[in-house]
Symmetry: C2
Subunit: 501 residues, 2 copies
């Protein structure tokens, strides 16, 4: 038994080292690598992705998994967790004929290019045929992995967030819809005037970099085990708890944008920097799921970063870095400006209030595609109707509507809903945290160490030892429940906009 555990762990370590090296290369590609090298990098990435795929699906791996299956009850918990993840991945990747995997991969590469042009030219008709193929191929691929009676879309949802399905998401989005749709209507009808223009005053990049360093360190990002730089789209990328980096982008006329990118990415980074040492040398060190990861980024960005208490604390600190034009701004003005809410067309620019509605629309449409067999040609109509229904606006064209996101061209159905889980999970965690800590009092003092320590104890240190539902059960004593989230939004935006629903 000892030998097979040792060999299995050694094999997993190898795979992990390939992943780390790919991670370093990916960070490089997204930050500094010359554009001219893109073809060479693409070839190299393809080679090593295949290499990793082969290592996770090899006969060697099969042998380990079969061997470990006979002794699961005798293994230590870390090996059990590594085994389960490897097994799930193995099953997922070996059930589909390799010819089909290749076809699907090529189709997606083609669809990506077609989508880029279609979005640029506001030409949904040119994208529709290949998207139709993507949907059909997704169903075909899924067919090989379906369990008795399982629906395709349920399986997709579980792929992106373990344990999730339509039953859970339907209930979740119903709770969201019930509160947020009327809340948005009330906000739109409010007479409250919020001035956010002062935030457009110029702040030089060099000064914004100082603000980034200050904010990151203040909320608990360990710069000794990290690095902050620029990229087109902000992201967090890590290889090991001793090397977790983040990126942001600087706009001299919008310092708040970078400030919130930093808080968001620091949430991801603090999570991975805080893994406990016993799993640091395993693939379990990378966080429990996309949803739980997003709960940490949204926690620092929104729950803390867009709270009144935070601005009561940080305003004085920030003024040292800001030009004189910000000198007279009060904490309350900042608080209101960073929380300005209203209908918008683009998901990635949505405010905290409406963000989940953008996600809900995509969830509902994906559900129609896979459960009701909605024809792809109907997507623009359905998209626009739902934006009108939930947000009260209709996109003037498909570039600002159904063509805006990359995900469907990649066949990534079931991915969107995880974006809605972040602040919802975070709100559940905060409800528990408040039983142990004076949450609001700590924030207004700028004392984030105890808050992060609580999160580390309950969530960070475990990496992906536990599934999302297990974490919720352990921390909150129940399952996903949007009521904390909707109450949080209701309390916040009713007060801010002086409305009542």
């Amino acid at each position: 038994m000892e030998q097979i555990v040792k060999d299995f762990n050694a094999h997993m370590d190898k795979i992990r080292m390939y992943g780390q090296l790919m991670g370093v290369s990916g960070f490089d590609a997204n930050t500094i690598a010359p554009k001219a090298g893109v073809a060479v990098r693409a070839k190299r990435d393809g080679f090593f992705s295949e290499k990793i795929f082969l290592m996770t699906t090899s006969d060697e791996m099969k042998g380990y998994l079969e061997g470990l299956a006979t002794m699961v009850d005798k293994l230590d918990p870390i090996t059990v967790a590594r085994y389960k993840k490897a097994k799930k991945n193995f099953d997922k990747n070996t059930k589909i004929p390799s010819q089909l995997v290749k076809e699907f991969s090529e189709l997606r590469a083609k669809a990506h290019v077609v989508w880029q042009d279609a979005r640029k030219n506001d030409d949904f008709a040119s994208f529709a045929p290949v998207l139709e193929q993507i949907v059909a191929k997704s169903k075909e691929v899924a067919g090989y992995r379906l369990e008795e009676g399982q629906s395709v879309y349920d399986m997709m949802l579980d792929d992106y967030e373990e344990g999730m399905n339509m039953e859970i998401y339907d209930k979740f989005f119903a709770q969201v819809r019930e509160v947020v749709v009327p809340l948005l209507k009330a906000v739109v009808g409010s007479n409250k005037q919020i001035d956010a223009n002062f935030m457009k005053a110029p702040v030089e990049k060099a000064m914004q970099e100082k603000i980034s360093d200050f904010a990151a360190e203040k909320i608990g990002y360990d710069m000794e085990r990290g690095y902050i730089t620029e990229s087109t789209h902000p992201f967090c990328s890590g290889t090991h708890k001793t090397d977790i980096r983040i990126t942001t982008r600087y706009d001299e006329r919008d310092f708040v944008s970078s400030f919130y990118s930093i808080l968001h990415e620091c949430g991801h980074a603090i999570y991975e920097q805080s893994t406990c040492d016993s799993i640091a040398e395993t693939e379990l060190s990378r966080g429990a799921s996309m949803g739980i990861h997003e709960s940490q980024s949204r926690f620092y960005e929104n729950v803390i970063g867009r709270s009144r208490g935070f601005w009561n604390y940080i305003t004085e600190e920030l003024k040292g870095y800001l030009p004189k034009s910000f000198g007279a701004i009060t904490p309350e003005q900042f608080y209101e400006a960073v929380n300005q809410a209203g209908p918008s067309l683009i998901r990635v620019e949505a405010d905290e209030l409406t963000y989940s509605l953008h996600i809900m629309i995509r969830y509902e449409i994906e559900r129609m595609l896979f459960v009701d067999n909605l024809p792809v040609s109907e997507l623009p109509r359905v998209w626009n109707e739902k934006y009108q229904e939930y947000l009260g606006i209709t996109p003037p064209n498909n570039t600002l509507g159904v063509l805006q996101d990359i995900h469907w061209s990649m066949g990534a159905f079931g991915y969107f809903p995880t974006y809605a889980l972040g602040t919802a999970y975070a709100s559940q965690f905060v409800a528990e945290m408040k039983k142990d800590l004076d949450f609001d009092g700590l924030i207004v003092k700028g004392d984030f160490a105890k808050i992060t320590a609580w999160m580390t104890d309950k969530i960070h240190r475990h990496g992906s030892m536990y599934a999302p539902a297990e974490i919720l059960q352990q921390v909150c004593g129940g399952g996903l429940d949007a009521s904390h989230y909707t109450t949080y939004l209701k309390d916040k935006f009713e007060a801010l906009y002086e409305v009542k629903i």
Copy 2:
């Protein structure tokens, strides 16, 4: 035949992709990676280095090499060159018992740590025993690869620069010694006063970065296929002609230091950016040898960058970037200041005149270690005597003497002499170039394109298709000849210091 060539090339391509990924990771490690991640990176580097080693020495590789050996005369020249390199590497790496390779590797790792402490504490005695072991183990390792009648040190010299041996180097350094030693004595005795203090006027880092970009592009580095950043020690690192990067370091009180680092590293980078497309996708694309590579870096740094013509051209261009304190400086003042020469203790800080003497001393000592079995304990005495003899100064301690370089702790004997080849090769090339181009006239006009095109045509585009001696033969119609180099030094420094030898 076609199949084996295809399979061999595919295998070599794989090895190259591992090398590229290691290159990206190495660049990252030397520029931005957090220090805290060093242990994880070391483990990963060890894993992938071993992986590459195994791929270059595997039974699969052996099969290809044996197959190709039977058909060399029928292969295309590129495959022949790839085969020869792979074969040489295979033979080198398979003749030594793997247990010995491992022991030697561990010994070097240990020696490196001991050397660091010894240098820090000026404690040669603590380093001597492990260096003694390194020398003994180097001899033992070499013993497995020696050909009939070959001396250990000749083999080491050939390892670092193909085709080189003591006979060639002895003659080379004799030519150098004959001119440079008296030339330095004359310079020391000269009444010429050169003022270099004005160069210490502060130049802000942001401005130095602009100077770097300007200088790099001006001499022909393609920024679209490259990237310039900072590191502790300047270097050039590439994966493919579409992605060749350089680094420098900025000292606000010494802008010239970074300026020359840029010229030097650009020489390496232009070489690799100019490989012809037919070998760009092979390991032949990385330059012919250490010496030829250094000929390109020293060419741009010294032969061009420290010439009077260059300063006649560049002074006006640079003044736009420099603070007012440089406003009154003439091209002649710059020219004299950047060529100030004299005895010094530290190789990496040596001027153009004395650099080869530092190298010669190391060559002579290595020769004594391996040919005359000089005891390691004698090194400080021999070192100091040679510095007194050739440079006229004696190091006040071993930290500034025999302990200054890392190379011997790594067992890298035979490496040093290649450093002396750079400007010597370059001087030979320039002698030929002057038959085709108005070299001095182009420099004074700042027209470097034709010069680089000549170098590309004769040298760059061939990568490592040819051995150094073949390149010299093709370009100059002869072998290594230090006379162009010594004439160059003599003419330059006699005039500058108004002396005659």
